[in-house]
Point group: D3
Chain length 186, copies 6
């Protein structure tokens, strides 16, 4: 298994890069020191579970799809929306195929299947995970607004507009009225 | 569901705090600006899946347990090891019970069950998730060493010593020899 | 004195950790990159002198008590208020006893006496130092509000409500009306 | 006292600037994100007490002098050593006189006397405080070296060479051999 | 040329310090983590070209003057406005003379001439570059205000008041009404 | 000119984004908080002048080309080298055309001509500017190495290997032997 272990370790180091890559859209919004892709990803995976639980989907599966949804950014960076006019975003499945090519079979197929399911948007869990991605951005936008950032409306609207599940929409509506500190007051 | 949605949103904001809380042990090691709990958690959940896949456990379940393993730190902060001599660390299940008390039943039971399973260390998946927690710290220690931090040996040794699965041990050994940049050279 | 010098140096390195530990309450308020315990401590010690001078207490003594009031956090971190429901905060005197156990006698007794006096709140100087701790938080809350942070009211109110000296109360009232930039306009 | 309270509050805000001003010398050494003047000041004041205690001087007085030794930097910034060839460093007493001009008499005289005593280097406490300033820089240099910064030798040598008390010299020697983490191993 | 190459490399490292030195005025305004001198300088040089183009001056020359206008701060730091009451700001030409003393003649004369022209304010290009310096501060003030910083009015007014070209004044007026995100909406 | 001024101001805000975008390659090298594109650009423009001066090219023109060489990254981000396998890098001239479309004619043609000349690599000044881009990366790599980052060899080698002018090669060789602090010792 020594070659396998090395391939797994090398992949683990590649994933560590997500702890350093910043979410580039927030630079556009004027945030000098925004969150990392890893920080975003953790809450997306947690939200995916909550949405799936309320929607009657499989929470662990939805979380799992979310966990890998931005892992391709180790290779390309976090491409901002404005990049779409100038380049064709690569298929995430292609990057995942490269990232996992040396992994032992079980790990390789596990991750490829998760990315493929997420990208296809065909399963209930994939839709819950995608909604979690949008909802997380909306929550973060409100949190930045609470920290002083003025021009987050575009982010909130685009996140809200893309939601497809009833649970995510209700959570988004609630998030716009509830204080981010309300959990401390209970 | 309006009360439910508000409770879910409030919980989602509480989880957002993990994006700001820093992993306190690295301050001891001399790192001025260390990673957040959220950054750590994302890779723990990813590593848990890889370990579980190779160990024949359920990867999505192992990931899911990992995803909630530090969520109690919103209430207590990340207590450093040196704190153990001065206070009794609270039972994570008790904090999770409070955090989820207002959530709708499915979400509430989902998270409580995950935390309980992780803390009990009785299932194969819980042990994979716990090993992922340790392995992530080891990888981060190597990454900080590569960025110049000299005194990480204690962190590497304590992480390595606590591993219980064969896969995690082999990944840890490989991580100590493989370059963190080896994925770029393939 | 070689053992003494080593013990003093080791203690000095431990105190250096306060330059890295962040004040955890501000993470709750939504500040991503808050001040360190050391930064807080410097101004607490300065404010303690001003309060003591106006109150007719010993300014140097009040400053000195303030200087050591959070030094136990090297061992436990800065426990947020929400932690109180889940753990018993350790007695600072006990941690100080451990921190100073190897120091030469004069230094050891000096610091232990300062922490004991501060914690007992029995002397005028201890009360001035404690008010300085609260007033510093209020000033910082206003400064964060001036930098955009919206939800600092809870911090301002709790700081203000705990003040016990007339001078600190008047300074707090003035701080809520005076511009943080007024010193530049004189 | 309302005008007095406002003057004290305005001065307190001016002192808060020390929490943001970075120690400029470390930029020269290659540190991108160095400590603030406030972080430095806290440990200088603590070290001054330890040195004074061992030297038989008044620890609280030595700490107090240290607490104000860089407060003039709110007006001028932290002038790096290389500036000396191009400008005449202003007399700190003159800046302190301006900073305290509107304060009530007791606070005003208190701070002016502290700065004057520190600058004169005539008392044992002033020399302990000055040695603490140098020793703190030496400790920080070692801590940066432990975090990877290579070119700190000049800072260590210049700090060591300027020490005038036996205690500070012994602490400096010990600091060069003791691990910054030794306090955790006891 | 070996001595020349070494002198050029040493100068290049000195210029690198501008990537670390922060613009000190923003600390006064309450910004904890402000831009570097290098970040400011890049946009000053770009703005100088735009202003010069519209004013009928030589854009490349105006840019070039701007590129060196703060390079003396490697030696003195970025002296805040409040320093003016306490010290005489050194003549930039004198510092530049020292910085370039070992450079080969063409590089040396090139930079000295640029600094001398900028400081004399006699040419159209020098006035465009100076206006660019002010306009950049105004734009940054608006950007900080958009990120939550409240007390930037003094910076905006002082920048606006000093403008001497019609183009810079019109750009400043437009910058106060145009959204910093308007380029994304086109 | 009101529409022109607004277009110029909008463009100036877009350029401000370069002060926030980080150079993504350094995240790969393990740097958590790397320099911005603006910081890089300033020194590239300065180095371009030095190289051109020694090479007998036009220094102001070389600087000017350098000043705009990465300005397209406001739209696409700083694409890391690993992205090349997955997407076609857009032609910078196309992005510049869009960025400048609303500008008044003189500014528009000025910038388009600079980007076109830089990208064509046909002029001596364009080659000096491109070498400056590479040399700046090499200098920064050495600076990060001096701050502790271990794995910068790949960056140094790739930068060095691409240099085309004699001056840049000699400066690169000198930079590998000269201390980044040598300018302070003169």
């Amino acid at each position: 298994m020594s070659g396998d272990a090395e391939a797994l370790a090398a992949f683990a180091y590649e994933l560590g890069l997500l702890k350093r890559i910043r979410r580039s859209g927030w630079w556009h919004a004027g945030v000098r020191d925004p969150e990392s892709v890893a920080e975003h990803t953790m809450r997306v995976a947690q939200l995916a579970a909550l949405i799936a639980a309320e929607e009657g989907a499989d929470p662990a599966r939805a979380s799992f799809l979310a966990l890998w949804h931005d892992t391709q950014e180790t290779r390309t960076g976090d491409l901002p929306h404005t990049a779409a006019a100038y380049l064709t975003k690569p298929d995430p499945r292609r990057i995942t195929a490269d990232q996992t090519a040396s992994l032992p079979e079980r790990s390789r197929e596990l991750i490829r299947a998760a990315v493929a399911e997420y990208e296809s948007r065909q399963t209930h869990e994939a839709r819950c995970a995608k909604d979690a991605d949008r909802l997380e951005m909306l929550l973060q936008a409100v949190e930045y607004r609470d920290a002083g950032v003025r021009r987050v409306d575009g982010w909130i609207e685009s996140a809200h507009g893309g939601l497809t599940t009833e649970t995510a929409r209700r959570m988004a509506d609630a998030a716009l009225t509830v204080s981010p500190l309300s959990w401390r007051d209970r």
